[in-house]
Symmetry: C2
Subunit: 234 residues, 2 copies
């Protein structure tokens, strides 16, 4: 982190510029998500533009992505490690993102809540086979043991378990849509992102892109549902 004394601010100003409270900023420093400020006196630290940027990244991942502090910490460790090969870093960023990365998301259950049920873990053998076939047919260069493949198998297994196994028949429409979106995602990265910002951008893009799509899908549902069942706008 470079030191540019002329832009340094105190924690109160950092809080005002990011909208993150002072106790929360201190908490992120303790948890290792945010580097400590440079001590300018025993009780005072100075913060840089990089702290502003890092805080905005943290809040985007938590507020929009619904990620836990622990999961954000792992993404940030990947962002800060200059020694890992690029493709591994992209995999790491993607692996840490999503509901399954967030151990706290199903909170509130007794300790018996972590069952090895049919919906968790790897998904059913049949669902895994379906994922393998889909990847084959599309010629996607990704291993069937990747976390994303597992997440897909788990979602298909859950659909089966609630009696909507037939929904998998429309999987190709989903896959087409995902390809279109992934294509523009990568074009954006290739054209607008510097190599040193790549991992951060992939983390942000994965989380915020999911949030964008999810919100747009709901809006399109409201529209379609209104046309089918409604009377007047929602």
């Amino acid at each position: 982190m470079e030191w540019k004394g002329e832009h340094a601010v105190r924690i109160g100003e950092l809080s005002r510029r990011t909208g993150v409270s002072v106790p929360t900023i201190k908490f992120y420093v303790r948890e290792g998500l945010l580097p400590a400020g440079r001590l300018t006196s025993p009780n005072q630290a100075a913060y840089e533009e990089t702290h502003v940027r890092r805080l905005r990244l943290i809040r985007a991942l938590i507020d929009v992505g619904g990620m836990s502090v622990a999961a954000v910490g792992e993404v940030i460790a990947a962002v800060d490690d200059p020694d890992r090969p690029l493709h591994d870093l992209l995999g790491e960023a993607a692996r840490r993102i999503g509901p399954h990365s967030d151990e706290g998301a199903s909170g509130g259950e007794p300790s018996g809540g972590e069952d090895e049920d049919e919906g968790g873990g790897l998904g059913s053998a049949e669902a895994r086979k379906r994922v393998e076939t889909l990847i084959d047919e599309r010629g996607w260069r990704c291993r069937t043991e990747s976390p994303a493949s597992q997440a897909l198998a788990v979602a298909l297994t859950a659909l089966d378990s609630v009696g909507h196994g037939r929904f998998a028949e429309v999987l190709d429409v989903y896959a087409d849509a995902a390809e279109q979106v992934a294509r523009v995602d990568l074009e954006y990265v290739a054209h607008h992102v510097a190599r040193e910002d790549l991992v951060e951008s992939v983390a942000v893009g994965t989380v915020l892109g999911d949030a964008l799509f999810s919100a747009l899908r709901r809006l399109a549902h409201i529209d379609a549902s209104d046309r089918l069942f409604g009377g007047g706008a929602e």
Copy 2:
């Protein structure tokens, strides 16, 4: 809930059939997510096929959707209420789903964590305007104050805040993809879902559809990233 004595099972068998542990089943009953079994003796209750189905719904929403127990409770209250107009129910189901419905997702922060920062709440005025324009241009019949519109504005604001405001230029590709997916979602519902199962199916479909798309987008990313940056499959 109908009583069909010949199919009733004890809690141990219910646990085996669903993979959900006995303490977790009892927890869901206490929290009002699952109706209690019919008492057949002071210490023993009998459970039905409807309990199996309800447990699978709960686990799909929690395990795949990453929803909190409280958020699942609200979806189930909507599913169980026969008096609400259909379109409202669909709105309710959609409103309760997603990271913003899950108060526990950003857990682990001190109480100061709930800031009114620029990334939270309603999104920036500029982002809200952009959402309004998008809805107008697409002719979507949905109000700009709907929770999905707000979620979209929040995601766009977060993109701005981390320096990726230009990503909004590809929003139309996302919206096209969302329309395609929403169309098959609704076609599936219209053809394969009985009216009394509609709300449950919308809740499941919203959560599991997001999970499907998210996993497929990651797979398509891995493929595209491998072609751009990689050497060999991930």
